[in-house]
């Protein structure tokens, strides 16, 4: 065990060194953990895409980045380091490093989502009819639903 006087130069240097080691270690752990997870899981999210993506699990990668204080706000250089040695298609790598959500969605076979879940008109009459409602709307609704469900 190393005993140092609190506030001394030696103590400050040691704390800094310990911190640097800790950060390096966490980076290594993240990369190692992520690569193991990536290699052990089948990508398989976008069947249209080829085998070169199959060892990379982009959802697992994003979850790992989102949960890690070191990586959540990491710059592209650090992300590039995290992806070093991972078998990943060039388009996917580029989309991640460019932080290009649209491209990433397209590569994963996802269309942009509608995120509106709130009407502007709060009172029930206006909710029920915006002036364009017609008799038999329920039939249309059912038709929409069955079509959507298909």
């Amino acid at each position: 065990m190393l005993c140092l006087r609190l506030g001394s130069e030696e103590a400050k240097v040691s704390v800094r060194e310990l911190h640097d080691v800790s950060v390096r270690q966490r980076k290594l752990t993240f990369c190692k953990t992520f690569r193991i997870a990536a290699l052990s899981m089948r990508f398989g999210l976008n069947k249209r895409h080829k085998g070169d993506y199959q060892v990379f699990d982009v959802i697992d990668f994003l979850e790992s980045v989102g949960q890690d204080a070191e990586w959540r706000h990491a710059d592209s250089e650090a992300l590039a380091v995290a992806l070093t040695g991972v078998q990943i298609g060039p388009e996917l790598r580029m989309a991640i490093l460019a932080r290009d959500e649209r491209e990433l969605q397209a590569l994963l076979g996802q269309d942009p989502f509608c995120c509106l879940i709130n009407p502007a008109k709060p009172d029930e009459d206006q909710e029920e009819c915006d002036g364009s409602c017609k008799e038999g709307e329920d039939e249309d609704e059912n038709k929409d639903k069955s079509t959507d469900d298909d």
Partner: protein, 273 residues
């Protein structure tokens, strides 16, 4: 004799805004322990992530269609959720952000489920509003903060307080009376600017804000003048934040009354002593 309690149940939880960063342990537990999960999310990639947590995740996204009233879409969402509750299933509705903030379907689903005798409740999540305070460094307690669905400023006569922050949601489709469009446009935003110009100078700086959905992104924070809002690129996920334009005015009359009250309270304490 007690009535037989129906076996179905409903909980609506929030997934937060950013993939991987915001989901709380209780919400995750509800997702994992339910029979059926319905997903009302803002991004397909986030939905793929949710699908990892449960084998039966049903997207509510197919109910949307441009040209179809969103009220019809929202009612269909509620019906889809309630159908499974009535079938005796333990149902979890997962919505992006906070399931109860600017979200009609979760509130309605819980209301209907309860009215039919099913246990139903909501667990909060991290909303876009929460992210906005962090990303923009705004404390709503400092000057106060008003939140409006942007179209309400055009549909109704609302009173704006320009000494507080004003946050406008769904500006990208402001003025859409049909509730069937995914965006309106510059002419509609100009009407919004006309309304805001009653309380703010046209040169006043406003902020266009969008929370990061993926953890590799950063929030969009773009400052423009109020008069430039119609020409700005504003989508359905963007929010407009208008900082205070005037200082708060001292209420001299009420302060005098408070002084009188303080003195009376102080005298009463002295009398007791």
């Amino acid at each position: 004799m007690n009535a037989i309690r129906p076996s179905g149940s409903l909980v609506c939880v929030g997934l937060g805004m950013t993939l991987g960063s915001h989901l709380g342990p209780l919400a995750r537990s509800h997702i994992e322990q339910s029979d059926v999960v319905f997903a009302g999310l803002s991004d397909g990639i986030v939905e793929l992530w949710l699908s990892r947590m449960h084998p039966d995740v049903r997207s509510l996204q197919p109910y949307y269609r441009e040209g179809k009233s969103r009220m019809q879409t929202y009612r269909q969402m509620v019906e889809a959720i309630l159908t499974e509750v009535r079938a005796g299933k333990k149902v979890c509705g997962v919505f992006y952000g906070h399931p109860g903030v600017f979200a009609w379907a979760p509130h309605k689903s819980i209301e209907v489920a309860r009215s039919e005798g099913y246990p139903a409740h909501m667990e909060p999540g991290i909303s876009a509003e929460d992210c906005l305070y962090a990303d923009l460094g705004i404390d709503p307690g400092r000057f106060g903060c008003q939140h409006y669905e942007a179209s309400q400023l055009l549909f109704y006569q609302r009173r704006i307080d320009p000494t507080a922050y004003l946050v406008l949601w769904q500006v990208g489709l402001v003025g859409d009376q049909s509730l069937a469009r995914f965006s309106t446009g510059a002419a509609y935003r100009q009407l919004l600017v006309d309304v805001l110009a009653r309380d703010y100078p046209l040169e006043h700086e406003v902020i266009i804000y969008r929370t990061a959905t993926l953890p590799i992104q950063q929030a969009r924070i773009e400052r423009v003048k109020l008069c430039a809002l119609p020409q700005a690129d504003i989508g359905m996920a963007d929010t407009v934040v208008i900082p205070p334009a005037r200082a708060m005015q001292v209420d001299h009359e009420m302060r005098a009354k408070l002084d009188v009250l303080d003195r009376a309270m102080s005298d009463a304490v002295c009398d007791v002593g």
